[in-house]
């Protein structure tokens, strides 16, 4: 392809630490995810009460996007996400609520989060991404696929930039790596550079 694209910015969240372009911007002491997420959300300074209703996966995705997209123009920004476990963490919560026919209490507030792409929907609503959206499931982040998909969206003119990445949450283990693919930036949008983003820490 003649046109080149770049990784303009990245956000990494793992083990109570949020990094932007590999620089820590928020860290918390040993805490469970729920407590860490609350502190990180307060630190971001955003007023968005809906955050408290989200499941853990959506909170993680929301925080990564929030820290990454500060001061970023989100016009024409498409969204591509992937993870390994889908919405398994919340699936298990819903399953417990229906496992016993005599104690059957499924909740719509839980059920709606039994879809992996809901966290993409939450990011789209917050940043008004009325754009191309896709959610993939894979054992590990498929950098080659995601690079090609993002490039397609840019080359076809369907998007002017693409928010891509990995958002995995299951049973207190979590990792988010989000990055912006743009027409400008410091790092070339290559498989090598994408893989490096996952090796931060």
């Amino acid at each position: 392809m003649e046109q080149s694209f770049y990784i303009s910015k990245s956000c990494h969240i793992e083990q109570q630490c949020i990094q932007i372009d590999a620089e820590p911007v928020f860290t918390a002491a040993e805490l469970d995810f729920s407590a860490f997420a609350k502190l990180a959300f307060k630190h971001s300074g955003v007023a968005y009460p809906k955050f408290y209703k989200m499941d853990a996966l959506s909170k993680l995705a929301f925080l990564a996007a929030e820290y990454l997209l500060q001061e970023e123009d989100s016009t024409g920004m498409a969204l591509l996400l992937a993870n390994r476990s889908g919405s398994m963490d919340t699936d298990l919560i819903h399953q417990i609520s229906i496992q016993d026919a005599d104690n059957f209490y499924p909740s719509p507030a839980t059920f709606v989060y039994t879809l992996a792409n809901i966290c993409a929907g939450e990011i789209s609503i917050r940043h008004q991404l009325q754009t191309e959206n896709a959610f993939f499931i894979a054992e590990d982040y498929d950098s080659f696929l995601m690079m090609n998909y993002a490039n397609y969206l840019l080359l076809s003119g369907r998007a002017s930039k693409v928010l891509c990445g990995w958002v995995e949450y299951r049973d207190e283990n979590y990792k988010a790596v989000l990055y912006l693919v743009d027409h400008f930036g410091d790092k070339p949008h290559t498989v090598d550079e994408i893989n490096k983003l996952f090796k931060i820490k």
Partner: protein, 369 residues
């Protein structure tokens, strides 16, 4: 700048049959796959479920040994005829789409088996696909979006052709969830009708084979644009669907008004059908014939879009508009035209749409060459 993609072959497995032809004959005769059954703790709901005995009888013909879930049997049955006819190689993409995969494994306390990657790996092995599956999980638009993903990755030169396979199984997990939303109708669902009161759920598997080699059904355009409005409710303005259709028509280089037919999502919930009517109306499509197949199959989640695309290809080849089962009187605020009776007529340009939770939409324009 991008190569053109064609749908070379299709397949589906549903309560109405194990081949496209069996399904087509059932649709022509107005037979619904919906019947009252118990789904776990939920008693006597109208659902579309494939009979176990029939599924097992058909599955035996594949001669596969091992243990398989109902969903795996359905998906392997749908994919097998295509894999036999179009031998996959290293340049064949394997794109799999599902909303909840083997979710029934959770009830058995087997969460690892419920992971979509486990399902994908197992299907890859038994279908002897050269490549690991690209797994798309985008709620109820998964099936249509998976075709777009395959098309786009072929256009980027990653592959030459693709098997797109989708499946979702009826489960207490999903029925209980929709019921908690009070979204399930007591009677078989009635898309776009005045009396509609919600969805019926179902199950299906479907597959298509995509190729760059010229064929009579061309994928002329597609789009998948988010509403960015609400995680569980459709947009009040139908904006994401409207934008998706515009994008697909732009790629196809056609005016929306020149479409001959719309195979809609039509779940029969109050809000979904209303949203679709608004989007179609905004595009000036009041007179374009529309149907929903949910009255035949129920809502088969991620499989729905691809199943309905498979039937749409057949309808284009047969030049037949299939009536929207369960529809008698228009129950949306915009004057759209629902197909009331089967009839013959040329379907040259057709639109398939799907919408789902998370604000997702996916649409595809097919043109008969």
């Amino acid at each position: 700048m991008f190569p053109t993609l064609y749908i070379a072959d299709t397949s589906c497995v549903t309560p109405l049959g194990f081949t496209v032809q069996e399904n087509w004959e059932a649709l022509l005769s107005g037979t619904s796959g919906l019947a009252y059954q118990d789904v776990g703790a939920i008693k006597q709901v109208p659902v579309g479920r494939i009979a176990d005995a029939l599924l097992d009888t058909h599955f035996e013909t594949l001669g596969l040994s091992g243990t398989f879930s109902r969903l795996e049997k359905m998906m392997l049955l749908a994919a097998s005829p295509l894999v036999k006819k179009h031998q996959p190689n290293a340049r064949t993409a394997f794109v799999m789409a599902t909303t909840k995969g083997n979710i029934n494994a959770l009830r058995e306390g087997q969460p690892e088996q419920a992971l979509l990657t486990a399902l994908g790996d197992k299907l890859q092995k038994h279908l002897a696909m050269a490549n690991r599956p690209i797994i798309v999980s985008q709620a109820c638009v998964s099936g249509v979006l998976a075709v777009s993903v395959a098309k786009r990755m072929i256009q980027m030169g990653m592959y030459d052709n693709a098997l797109v396979l989708t499946g979702d199984e009826l489960s207490e997990f999903v029925v209980s969830g929709f019921q908690s939303f009070q979204a399930i109708a007591d009677q078989p669902c009635r898309p776009f009708d005045k009396q509609r009161e919600g969805v019926s759920l179902g199950e299906a598997a479907a597959a298509i084979y995509l190729t760059k080699e010229k064929n009579n059904i061309r994928i002329a355009g597609e789009g998948s644009i988010n509403d960015a409005n609400h995680i569980s409710g459709p947009s009040r303005t139908g904006e994401g669907l409207y934008q998706s259709i515009l994008a697909a028509c732009q790629e196809a280089e056609i005016e929306a008004g020149s479409l001959d037919f719309i195979a809609a999502h039509g779940t029969a919930t109050l809000y979904n059908d209303e949203m679709e009517a608004i989007a179609f109306d905004r595009l000036g499509l009041q007179d374009t014939p529309v149907h929903s197949l949910k009255g035949f199959y129920g809502h088969t989640l991620g499989a729905a879009g691809l199943l309905e695309l498979v039937i749409l290809v057949k309808a284009m080849q047969e030049n037949t508009f299939i009536a929207s089962l369960g529809f008698t009187e228009l129950g949306v605020s915009r004057p759209i035209t629902i197909v009331k009776e089967n009839r013959q007529g040329n379907i040259q340009r057709a639109l398939k749409t799907a919408s789902g939770f998370g604000g997702s939409n996916a649409v595809m324009v097919l043109i008969k060459e």
